[in-house]
Symmetry: C2
Subunit: 361 residues, 2 copies
Amino acid sequence: MRRTSAQLADGREIIYFDRPDAPERVLTDPRELSAVSTAAQMRRDPVLDEWVIMATHRQDRTLHPPTSECPLCPSRNGRQTEVPSPDYDVVVFENRFPSLSTNATGGEHTGLPVEHAPGVGRCEVVCFTPDHDASLGSLEPDYARLVVEAWADRTTALSALPGIEQVFCFQNRGRAIGVTLEHPHGQIYAYPFVTPRTRQMLGNAAKHAARTGHNLFADVLAGERDSGDRVIAESAHWTAFVPAAARWPVEVHVYPHRRVPDIPSLTDQERDDFVYLYLDVLTRLDALYDSALPYVAAWHQAPLTADAEHAYLHLQICSIQRAADKLKYLAGSEAGMGAFITDVLPEDVASRLRAASPVVT
Amino acid sequence: MRRTSAQLADGREIIYFDRPDAPERVLTDPRELSAVSTAAQMRRDPVLDEWVIMATHRQDRTLHPPTSECPLCPSRNGRQTEVPSPDYDVVVFENRFPSLSTNATGGEHTGLPVEHAPGVGRCEVVCFTPDHDASLGSLEPDYARLVVEAWADRTTALSALPGIEQVFCFQNRGRAIGVTLEHPHGQIYAYPFVTPRTRQMLGNAAKHAARTGHNLFADVLAGERDSGDRVIAESAHWTAFVPAAARWPVEVHVYPHRRVPDIPSLTDQERDDFVYLYLDVLTRLDALYDSALPYVAAWHQAPLTADAEHAYLHLQICSIQRAADKLKYLAGSEAGMGAFITDVLPEDVASRLRAASPVVT
């Protein structure tokens, strides 16, 4: 893997992750760009005791441009995009419309009745391939492995930034989930706080450890592997399963067999093995309804704080597609009370995903 | 208010809440109906320590029937609906596709690696008006007051059922929020557990009380009233405001000035006063984008458990409509990490809602 870093016209960083034999990349960005907004702020909701990020400059971000104007394609035929080079393998750059910014200045209100602060952090875009019409699941294993290298590199680099408490690698896929750009890509957020879900998981893991002497996540994985009813794919180092109390119509968790806190801690062998398993899982997900499944894929990594002791790296994939033509909406019970209601049994979803043949290419 | 109770063909309860001078209601349901499913179950997610409800029989529930087949309209012209009477004012009945059921039998699995139990509880539908094309906000105050009486009656009755720990009155409105029936209606869930959000709020309220000696919700209300920047409507007994750390593009909380645990504890005067304020708020919400705003309106009532000590009744209204033609989606940061990102400032939303003229009828 060859790593090349450069700056875009407005000072944002761009980093190419290329196969060793790839051509040299064009690093100069000839565009004239206005400065990126630093207005991000955050406020602490006192009722739930959670930070809420406010980024008003995102209200006008690019929405569903035609393919001919895609900002994530390489720069070709005289059209300059966010990626100056005419080609790339995997590329990461800072988001032009960031929810969080390393030099955020927002939130300097007076008289607010809640705690507030600038939205300090960093938001990056990860382009998985220059091919606008491809998908992560359609990549060759050697190629997809570059994405894992990018996640690992960015987790390490962003963790070193001042004030960062958690690095989150994720992918939103599909218009039904609100994706505004069709080009296959993921995102990375570096938060200045431990996110609510992570705090809740790790709080429960600490209680579980105090009660049983075991790691909560290791026990969950062992329970699913012992039962097998909801396992959909297994390899030497990883298991993918539908959790027994899944909230979403389609939900798959992918755990490494060895407990590690984050992606950088994975061995080469574990990374290779993950790629094979994940491509298999992604292909099954698309086979489920015979169409590209909209999903959120979220890497749960240990935060950079003291309560990370019980963390266990895992990937959570969830989809609101409850049937080929029906979506699950978060309505009163979920949005108001946090009480999820699902219309499908995890065992049935797992059985259908096991039966869904990965497309042979 | 005149209350009349009867049974539907499959044994479900139906309760009419009528103005005193309304005609007698037809109580006999001549339909032949199969028994309601009792398959509801719930499983405890060990990672988040939350119950998830599973109701597979809901997968095939009625979706967007044409108005001529609406099951919530009164029974007229030879067509039998869920409401046997040819007219009604406000009517409540048990859901034909319940997420929770008083005689639930689901969840009797063997070998599940998580705690599980039948989904014991009750789900009710509240029809606000027989007029299919009306809305709650379009009702006259005296009429809308019947809805408050229905909420109060059902909260008291459902709280008395064995095993119930929390009663939740709510309204989902609009297809964008997943509403499957257009007829103006709300719902009531009686849960056999304290919901995750309530548990979190009351946990924070207990900590706040220990630290400050004050009630958390009373302090939030006082802070918003003192500031005034986000208040959109006020009356003698209630204040409606956009919370300073709102998560949703449109979010309004309505608090009574007097701390009460639940709707049944409101005085007649407070109920009257609420109706006037709420109709005003609902009209402003629809004026915001000049169209019927999709929203979830959620009543936060005290649960029936020991941790209810710090509870404070309030209504939360939230909408995913972030512009006239744009929706906010819960994607990676929200669905994966519970970290909300919003594109609008609460002060701006409040200002637009204050300026939105309630339509004069």
